[in-house]
């Protein structure tokens, strides 16, 4: 659930940048990105490519959005491509980053981590997350960029695309400060970014929406059906379970709060994302 804390250890110059960097940290979960949903064949006949005719079944609360994530290292001039699939059905959203696991958030703050190969899952209720000192921004899980964060950026342009209106946002970038340059193309009807670029000077991370599909309840439920679930609260009594032992060893059941305090003692907000050591 945690991302690696190193990017957060840099001096933080503003709250906006802090929130956006949390988006950037989604990256650390994307190492093994695979189009899990595409391979599961759900919605194959309802696919709506961005260049295809508009699918009216897609709404802000029911969609499957695929992103390509590109990381460019300015020092080595190398690029890394990964993927992220967001599947939302009403109050639930799935984040699929890799083949090993994917994550689900519910609007009530509950979080589930699924392990497809083992058909096992770990559920974290709100109290579990609080006890682990994890305060997640649910809005960010559902929209990649929380509306309150977006509201702190400057709207520089609006236009009408083939299917959706688009809004272009920028941050008030000051070249004299160590603050990333942020650029977002926003789809207000879906409350999702069409594209998102964060350039820290050392590296640039870009999210590009590549595919948008409709989703229904049956399709969504099929993605999370037949998993043997365990409450995180019960992990402590389940370390003799080979699956639990393996996942703890591999760091998928999180430990460690180190790095989540800034130099002035402020608790930094962990993000949904990769495991943490």
């Amino acid at each position: 659930m945690y991302c690696h804390p190193q990017p957060l250890m840099k001096p933080i110059s503003s709250a906006i940048t802090m929130s956006l960097l949390c988006v950037l940290l989604l990256m650390c979960n994307s190492t093994y990105a695979t189009q899990v949903i595409a391979s599961s064949k759900i919605g194959a006949n309802i696919a709506t490519d961005m260049d295809e005719p508009c699918d009216t079944a897609i709404s802000g609360s029911q969609f499957q959005a695929s992103y390509q994530i590109t990381t460019t290292d300015h020092h080595t001039n190398t690029q890394q491509h990964t993927g992220l699939i967001l599947t939302r059905f009403n109050d639930n959203i799935l984040h699929q980053h890799n083949q090993v696991s994917f994550e689900a958030w519910h609007k009530n703050g509950e979080y589930v981590r699924y392990f497809p190969a083992e058909k096992r899952s770990i559920s974290y209720r709100r109290g579990d997350l609080l006890a682990l000192n994890i305060a997640s921004d649910i809005d960010r899980q559902f929209h990649l960029i929380a509306p309150h964060t977006l509201a702190q950026l400057s709207l520089v342009d609006s236009s009408q695309g083939q299917c959706y209106a688009q809004q272009q946002y920028r941050n008030a970038h000051n070249k004299n400060e160590a603050e990333p340059l942020v650029s977002i193309d926003w789809l207000p009807q879906l409350s999702l970014p069409k594209s998102l670029t964060i350039d820290t000077g050392d590296q640039r991370i870009s999210y590009q929406l590549t595919t948008l599909k409709a989703i229904n309840g049956d399709n969504f439920n099929r993605l999370i059906a037949d998993y043997q679930d365990l409450d995180f609260a019960d992990v402590g009594d389940s370390e003799s379970d080979p699956f639990i032992a393996k996942m703890i060893t591999q760091g998928f059941i999180q430990h460690g709060s180190s790095g989540f305090y800034s130099s002035d003692g402020e608790k930094l907000q962990p993000t949904s994302g990769g495991h943490h050591h």
Binding site: N108, S123, R125, R126, G127, D128, L130, A131, L132, N133, A135, D231, F232, A233, V235, G236, D237, S238, E239, S240, I244, M247, I248, I253, Q254, H255, G256, S257, S258, G259, F260, Y261, S263, D264, G265, E266, K267, H277
Partner: protein, 498 residues
Amino acid sequence: MMIKRVAALISCSLVTMAANSAMLPSVQSNSPWFTDSAQRVMDKANLTTKTQAKNVILFVGDGMGISTLTAARIYQGQQITGNQGGEENALSFERFNHTALVKTYNTNQQTPDSAGTMTAIATGVKSKAGVLSVSDTSLRGNCLSSKGNELVTLVDLANAKGLSTGVVSTARITHATPAATYAHSPERNWEADSNLSNEAIANDCKDIAYQMVMRDKDHALSVALGGGRRAFIPNTVTDGENKNGSRKDGLDLTQAWLDNFDNAAYVWNKDDFDAIDVANTDHLLGLFNSSHMEYELDRANDVAGEPSLTEMTTKSIELLNKNDNGYLLIVESGRIDHAHHAGNAKRALMDAVELSNAVQAAYDNTNPEETLILVTADHSHVFTIAGYPKRGNPILGLVHDVDGNLSTALDGKPYTTLGYTNGPGAVIGQRDDLTSVDTQQNDFMQQALIPMGSETHAGEDISLHATGPGANLVKGVMEQNVIFHIINQAQSLGGTKY
């Protein structure tokens, strides 16, 4: 001659007392420390304890080791206006006159789990980790091996004697500790039928929820309150808090409870719980959460509302008290353990304090001449109270020495009084600098030494506290299964030839 001898003895003892008093300076003998403790000893010297209990209430703080008791008493004490630092405080049951230390190991583990430890308490026989009230000749997770190895529990005996019985927990009511009191299973995780293995199904082992509800009328629980609703309803049903059931067999055990027992009631939220008419209810099932109930700290945020452990205890006593023959009530504070596993001391301490409140409520609502109250834990945790903090230093805070200076370790960083030997609060690499961190906030995770996904149980002894008839049996260092025998004897349950 005899009178002279007695007179001589009395005069000698008076001389001794006078001589001892004379040897003590007034700064000593007039000290409140001295006078208060002298009075306590006098009280103990005059203490008489009945041997037969009509009622027994057994409280179990899951994971409530002695360091948890100490920290919880200080935490509670520091909330009291006019406290002298908090250390002088006592949890309700720490004022009980009878105390013992309890050895917790399982037959196969030096550091135990809750299933094995509660089996020892409930049956008088130690068993292995992971199994519920079956002997250790059973193989964990193997149904067939458990057949014929079922152990009779305190609840079974109490019901057979015509007593009313109740089980209360803030964990799932099918979780290991409460389950060991009424179910027999070689696998603690068989909470619903969907958890059963193929082998278990083939050999007709029943899941724990099923066993709880399907007890015959003469051995039915009168009260079952806790979490764990999902194991009682079909997976096709969504409950009142928008959670799915987990049963595959289609059984609605909440309905079965209503069908099977006379004057039965089922509630799942606090409003319905509060509205229960005890006078007209003989079998009360309350399932307040799909899984575990909320931590006490988070209880107010529950979707449909949950009663506190104190409220559940009080209501249970009110209902059980209708049986003139008496009752056996087992109450677990199940989430002290979970908060420790998460490395979050504040939630563990708040749940321990709430257990103390529940014990006080039980004491206040029972006759001490006829009710034996026991308070214990199933096992400890690797939870420590460290450093040399000054008197009254916030128990959740950073260590400040007697001069009020922030204490630092060899790495130059401060540290908290409370910590864990292992768990999620440990890091690989350098630990956090907590200088400017509010370590008393609700969600602070204490630092730990060894990184583990979940903090672990500990193997040292835990305590047993008692008051009421039969409490005199609580003394010394004992095996955990002795607790069964104390209850068995005090309440004459007939489990042995006392």
